[in-house]
C-alpha cells in the first residue's frame, strides 16, 4: 500500500550508497519490523487484559468492592463504611487473583517453550506427564505419608522433576526428536493416571477430598506465603527462559542447522529444564490446571500472526486462569467449580481443534 513511499529515495541516498540498495534495504527492514510491531501490540494488549482480569476478580463477584476503595485497602486502611472489605480482599480475593495470574503465566510460558523447542503442539507439560507427576507425588504423600502444609507442594515439585528426569533419561540423545519424547511422555502420563487411581482407592474419605485439589487445579489454597514463593521462583526462572528463548529460535531449524549456526542442540535442552521447573513450581502452587500450558502457546501464536512469543503465551495463560477461576465461582449460581474444571471443559474442544490442525500439518 505504501510501496510508492518506500520507493522514494531517502534523504541520504544522493550522497551515500546506491539508491537501489537503499530501496531493498528499506523493504527488508520494514518486512522484519512490521510483524515485530504486531507482537508488541499483542503483548501490550494482553498485559492490559491480564490487569483487567485481575481487577475484575478482585472487585466483582458476590462481594463487590468499589475501585475507589481498593487503594486504601491495599495501603492497609480499614474502611469505616465496609469493615469486612479489607479482610475479604487481602485474604481471599487478591491472593487468588495473583496466584492465578502468576501460575497462569508460568504454565503458558512453559507450554510454549516445550511446543516450540520440540516442534510439536502436543508437547506440553500437561500432556506429557509432568503435571501428572506432580499430582501423583502429592496424592501419594497425602495418603501414605500424611504430608501436610508446605510438604505437599514440595512433594508435587519433586514429582514433576522426577518425571522430567525420567523422560530425559529415556529420551537421551533424542530429546529434541519431539515425536518420540511426546510418545514416551503420553505413556508416562497414562501410567501415572493409573497410579493415582490406585492410590485413591486406598485413601480415606477426608484424604480423598484433599487429594482432589491435586487432581484438578484450584486456586483455593492461595495464601501470601505461596505467592511469595511463586513470585521468587518465577523471578529467577523468567530471565533464564528469556536467554534460552534465543536458542529456541535456532532449535526450530533442526539440530543440524542450529549446531552449524553455533547454537549446539544441547542448549535448547537447557531451555526445557527451565520450562519444566516453571511448570513444576506452578503446579505445586495450584495443582494441574488443565490445558493452560497446552493451549496458551497456540492461542498466542494465532494472535501474533503466526510468530511464537513466550511473553504473549505467558499472558494468555494468566488471562485464561484468572477469568476461568472467576467463571467457576460465579457462572453457575451456588456452585463453586475449581478453575481446573472450567479450563478442562473449555480446553477439551480447543485441544481437538489443535490436534486436527496439527494433523493437517503432519506434526501429530
Amino acid at each position: 500500500m505504501t510501496t510508492d513511499l518506500a520507493r522514494r529515495p531517502g534523504p541520504a541516498s544522493a550522497a551515500g550508497p546506491a539508491s537501489a540498495d537503499i530501496d531493498d534495504l528499506v523493504r527488508v527492514v520494514r518486512a522484519r519490523r512490521r510483524p515485530l510491531r504486531r507482537v508488541r501490540l499483542v503483548i501490550a494488549g494482553l498485559a492490559v487484559a491480564t490487569l483487567g482480569a485481575v481487577l475484575v476478580r478482585v472487585l466483582l463477584g458476590d462481594y463487590v468492592v468499589a475501585l475507589a476503595d481498593l487503594v486504601p485497602i491495599l495501603r492497609g486502611d480499614t474502611l469505616p463504611n465496609a469493615p469486612g472489605a479489607s479482610f475479604i480482599v487481602m485474604e481471599a480475593k487478591l491472593p487468588r487473583a495473583l496466584v492465578g495470574a502468576i501460575a497462569g503465566m508460568a504454565f503458558g510460558a512453559s507450554g510454549a517453550m516445550f511446543q516450540t523447542t520440540l516442534r510439536n503442539p502436543l508437547a506440553s507439560p500437561d500432556i506429557i506427564g509432568i503435571s501428572l507427576g506432580a499430582s501423583a507425588a502429592a496424592v501419594i504423600a497425602l495418603t501414605f505419608l500424611d504430608a501436610q502444609g508446605i510438604w505437599l507442594p514440595a512433594a508435587a515439585l519433586a514429582g514433576a522433576l522426577a518425571v522430567s528426569l525420567l523422560m530425559y533419561a529415556v529420551g537421551r540423545g533424542t530429546l529434541l526428536a519431539g515425536r518420540r519424547m511426546v510418545l514416551v511422555g503420553i505413556g508416562i502420563a497414562a501410567l501415572l493416571s493409573s497410579v493415582i487411581q490406585f492410590v485413591m482407592t486406598r485413601t480415606s474419605i477426608q484424604d480423598a477430598q484433599a487429594a482432589l485439589v491435586w487432581l484438578t487445579g484450584s486456586l483455593a489454597r492461595a495464601t501470601w506465603p505461596v505467592i511469595g514463593l511463586l513470585t521468587a521462583a518465577v523471578l529467577v526462572l523468567a530471565p533464564l527462559l528469556a536467554v534460552c528463548a534465543r536458542w529456541m529460535r535456532l532449535a526450530e531449524l533442526g539440530d543440524d542447522l542450529a549446531t552449524t549456526l553455533g547454537a549446539p542442540a544441547g542448549r535448547a535442552r537447557l531451555g526445557l529444564v527451565v520450562a519444566v521447573a516453571l511448570a513444576a513450581v506452578a503446579t505445586s502452587a495450584t495443582g494441574p490446571i488443565a490445558f493452560v500450558a497446552f493451549l496458551a502457546g497456540p492461542i498466542a501464536r494465532r494472535l501474533c500472526g503466526g510468530r511464537p512469543s513466550l511473553w504473549a503465551a505467558a499472558l494468555v495463560g494468566a488471562v485464561v486462569v484468572v477469568v476461568s477461576d472467576f467463571a467457576g465461582d460465579y457462572l453457575i449460581p451456588d456452585v463453586n467449580l475449581p478453575v481446573g474444571v472450567v479450563t478442562g471443559a473449555l480446553g477439551a474442544p480447543l485441544m481437538i481443534a489443535v490436534i486436527i490442525a496439527a494433523g493437517r500439518a503432519g506434526k501429530a
Partner: protein
C-alpha cells in the same frame, strides 16, 4: 537499529547509514581481516581451505567413512559425487563439526592460521563455515526475512544483538538469491524453488568463507537447478567464497565444479578437475554404470550419456 519506525523516509535514512557502516566494515575486513579470499587460478597458491586427514566417521560404532584424506581447495567450487548411501552427507557432517570423527582430524586454514575445527568455539566456526543440510525443518509461520535473519546468529553476542550490519547482510543475501520481493511472505507458501533460494539466502547471510551444501538442487526442476547452481557459482566468482556441494547429477557436477571429489562405499575413488577426471572408466568405477562420455557442446565440460547398469562395457544399444 534502536528505532522501530515503519516510516519509509526514516528507514531510508537509517538504511543509508547502515550500508555505509557495513561497507566500511567489509573494507576493513579485506585489508586486515584474518581470511582474505584467494581467487581461483593463482598457480601454486591453492592451499586447501578445509583439509581432512585419516577421517573415520561412524554412527553408533558402525563405520560409514573409512580413512578419508580430502582437500577442499580455497576459493573454488568443489562437488562431491557418488552413489546413494556412499557417505557424502556424512562427509559434509564431518567437515562441519556435526559429527565428531572416530579417528583423524579436520583442519580449517586461512593465510595466518590453521585450526583443528574442534578446537574452535561453535560461533567462531559458524562465522567461517556454513552448512545447508539436505532438508532442514521449517519453523511454523516464519517469514522469509525472519528465516534469512536467523543466519546472523553467529555474529551476535549476549550484548550485541541485531544491528544495522545485520540488516545489510540480510538484504545482500536476499538480493543475491533474488528473494527481496518475497521478504514479507510466509515461507510455507512458497514454491520449492523459491524456498530453496530462501534457505540459500540464510546460508549466505552467515557471511562465511566456506559454504557447504547438501544436494541444494533436490526437488527443483531443471531450470531452477541451473538457476541455483549459477547463483552459487556467481557467489564463488564474485566473493571468492569456497563452495562445497553434493550433487547427484554428474553432468551438472562436471559443468559447475572446479574440483570433483568422487566417493564410493565411504572411500575416495578420485578427485580432480572434471575434464581430467570424468571419463567412461570413472563412471563405471564410481557408479557401476556403462556410459559414453562426450564433450558438452554448450560448456565444453564432459557430458555423461548413460547406457545401462548391466552392460558395463560402454557399448551403445
Amino acid at each position: 537499529m534502536s528505532s522501530t519506525t515503519l516510516r519509509p523516509a526514516t528507514i531510508a535514512a537509517e538504511a543509508a547509514h547502515a550500508l555505509e557502516v557495513a561497507h566500511a566494515a567489509q573494507a576493513h575486513d579485506s585489508t586486515s581481516g584474518p581470511a582474505p579470499q584467494r581467487r581461483s587460478g593463482t598457480p601454486g597458491r591453492d592451499a586447501p581451505a578445509l583439509r581432512a586427514r585419516g577421517l573415520i566417521l561412524s554412527y553408533d560404532g558402525r563405520r560409514v567413512v573409512e580413512g578419508l584424506d580430502l582437500d577442499v581447495p580455497a576459493g573454488k567450487v568443489t562437488v562431491v559425487v557418488g552413489p546413494n548411501g556412499c557417505g557424502k552427507s556424512t562427509v559434509l557432517r564431518g567437515l562441519s563439526r556435526l559429527l565428531r570423527p572416530t579417528e583423524g582430524h579436520v583442519h580449517l586454514s586461512s593465510t595466518d592460521a590453521d585450526d583443528d575445527v574442534w578446537a574452535l568455539r561453535p560461533k567462531e566456526f559458524a562465522r567461517r563455515v556454513a552448512l545447508l543440510p539436505q532438508s532442514p525443518p521449517l519453523p511454523e509461520g516464519i517469514t522469509v526475512v525472519d528465516l534469512v535473519g536467523r543466519g546472523r546468529h553467529p555474529h551476535h553476542t549476549h550484548v550485541r544483538r541485531w544491528s544495522a550490519a545485520d540488516d545489510a547482510a540480510v538484504m545482500e543475501a536476499m538480493r543475491a538469491t533474488g528473494t527481496v520481493e518475497l521478504a514479507e511472505r510466509h515461507v510455507e507458501e512458497l514454491s520449492g524453488g523459491q524456498r530453496q533460494r530462501v534457505w540459500i539466502a540464510l546460508t549466505l547471510a552467515q557471511q562465511t568463507e566456506i559454504v557447504l551444501l547438501d544436494e541444494p538442487t533436490t526437488y527443483l526442476d531443471v531450470a531452477h537447478q541451473i538457476d541455483v547452481l549459477d547463483l552459487l557459482r556467481d557467489l564463488n566468482r564474485t566473493k571468492g567464497t569456497t563452495v562445497v556441494m553434493v550433487l547427484h547429477d554428474l553432468n551438472l557436477a562436471a559443468r559447475y565444479a572446479d574440483h570433483v571429489v568422487a566417493m564410493r562405499d565411504g572411500r575416495l575413488v578420485g578427485s580432480g578437475a572434471p575434464a581430467d577426471l570424468v571419463d567412461e572408466d570413472f563412471v563405471a568405477r564410481v557408479f557401476g554404470l556403462g556410459s559414453r562420455v562426450i564433450t558438452d557442446p554448450v560448456t565444453g565440460s564432459p557430458l555423461v550419456v548413460p547406457t545401462s547398469t548391466r552392460e558395463q562395457t560402454g557399448a551403445t544399444p
